[in-house]
Point group: C2
Chain length 266, copies 2
């Protein structure tokens, strides 16, 4: 809980201003201690799924069991820039080829592990990025997520072994930098059960599922019983102007939220 | 020979100026017809290898037998942008993954064909290129080269089949655009033999080899007996500030060039 105790002491990266002082200056400082002397009674959060699972299974309510752990790594692969016409295949040290093996390798890793394991290469930059030049270096990122910390560590280990083997085989160097690392969060069994029972009582189809994205609930889960309610995202889209959820799904989610709050407050 | 006949009629892309008129305007128009009424007697060109083969084999003189055919393709792979945390592997249509399979696939193609076949992905751009987003599209280029036109066509066919299969398997579209396509050029056997015999008579180690890069010689080969002389490039580098060839190798190449010209002129 050290981060929470220090929240008001956080200083801005630019001018060094202290959060607590700045809140007081603009009139936003509350009177309740931070962290509060007593934790909230419970926390429940309604959100769009931001993924395609509910829509794909024609399910209306996602009963969220926790938030996936996240492991983000940036890799810089350095080889030897060379002429694409004059350099025989066996004399190449090609970081683009190694990037290709990493991209396909993390897909294979996720498929082999199954369960909630996902793996994504979303960013990839070739240097010098020319048609007829074997690249000198490639930077790419690998995003690994799992709801189970042990399995997430296992995925990281397999990924690191892959990098080590590829670097040796192709004669390139691979620098690894951790961009982010969060352990998985498990929501409270009572709150999960309450969301599920309430949705079923209201006549909605349900499925238990983890959240692949981060939410306020993962922070509140540290201090009080917490869960979340998901409703479908059309085509699984979010953070996108095409993001949309059907009005009847929004209404269903709001009904479940209301009844869960009423049940918990009674 | 249609291109050569039309050389003076080529027009600039910007202001439409005609090459022949512009040469006359700046005083650079020659008096000899283009193409010339009679072809040159012969053509021989001395060049650095621009690749690592001679250095790797400790050979001083490369006897160039021809120029590789070149096939350049730009691919635009379009899938579905999605959240890296919330989208299960089996619901992804990931153009980055397909790019990875193409990168590793063309390496496998070149290794399987062997001989002079080379294959390179030198350019690759992800969109939107963010750590936690499955890309919406990826643009990449594939550079295929072979000294044999039939084999080059075979490489292109294997590559096209790979793209078709990947597009179907992952549910993405792949647009193909040809950026360049040149057939291989074979130099004249008499000129190849003269370069080889001359280098050996002067006491230099030799090996026959194709050129992976384009040269003036490939144009002259259309109209007169042609060959080329290669000397080693340190670390195979060219088009790079680190490009270097040892003085003794430059001298060896110049000696061979002189003796070949003298032999051909006598």
């Amino acid at each position: 809980m050290e981060q929470e105790g220090a929240a008001l002491d956080v200083r801005a990266a630019d001018d060094g201003g202290r959060l607590g002082d700045e809140l007081a200056r603009i009139g936003y400082a509350g009177s309740v201690p931070c962290p509060a002397a007593s934790a909230p009674h419970a926390y429940v959060e309604l959100h769009i799924e931001q993924g395609p699972v509910l829509e794909d299974e024609s399910t209306v309510i996602g009963v969220v069991t926790g938030v996936q752990g996240i492991s983000w790594t940036e890799l810089t692969v350095t080889g030897q820039s060379a002429h694409a016409g004059t350099t025989p295949m066996q004399l190449r040290r090609d970081p683009g080829y190694v990037a290709g093996e990493i991209i396909t390798g993390v897909r294979a890793l996720a498929r082999a592990m199954g369960g909630t394991q996902v793996a994504t290469v979303g960013l990839c930059n070739f240097q010098p990025n020319l048609v007829n030049v074997v690249p000198s270096s490639v930077t790419l990122t690998v995003d690994l997520r799992n709801t189970d910390e042990v399995l997430l560590q296992q995925a990281e280990a397999v990924f690191h072994e892959l990098c080590t083997r590829l670097a040796a085989d192709e004669g390139v160097t691979i620098e690894r930098r951790t961009l982010a690392r969060f352990e998985p969060v498990q929501f409270h069994p009572d709150m999960i059960g309450l969301v599920e029972a309430t949705a079923e009582r209201l006549g909605h189809s349900t499925r238990r599922m983890p959240s692949g994205a981060g939410h306020d609930a993962q922070m509140l889960a540290r201090v009080c019983p917490t869960s979340m309610i998901f409703v479908p995202s059309v085509n699984g889209l979010s953070h996108n102007i095409a993001e949309y959820t059907l009005p009847e799904h929004i209404a269903a989610g709001a009904d479940v939220l209301l009844q869960v709050v009423l049940a918990r407050a009674s």
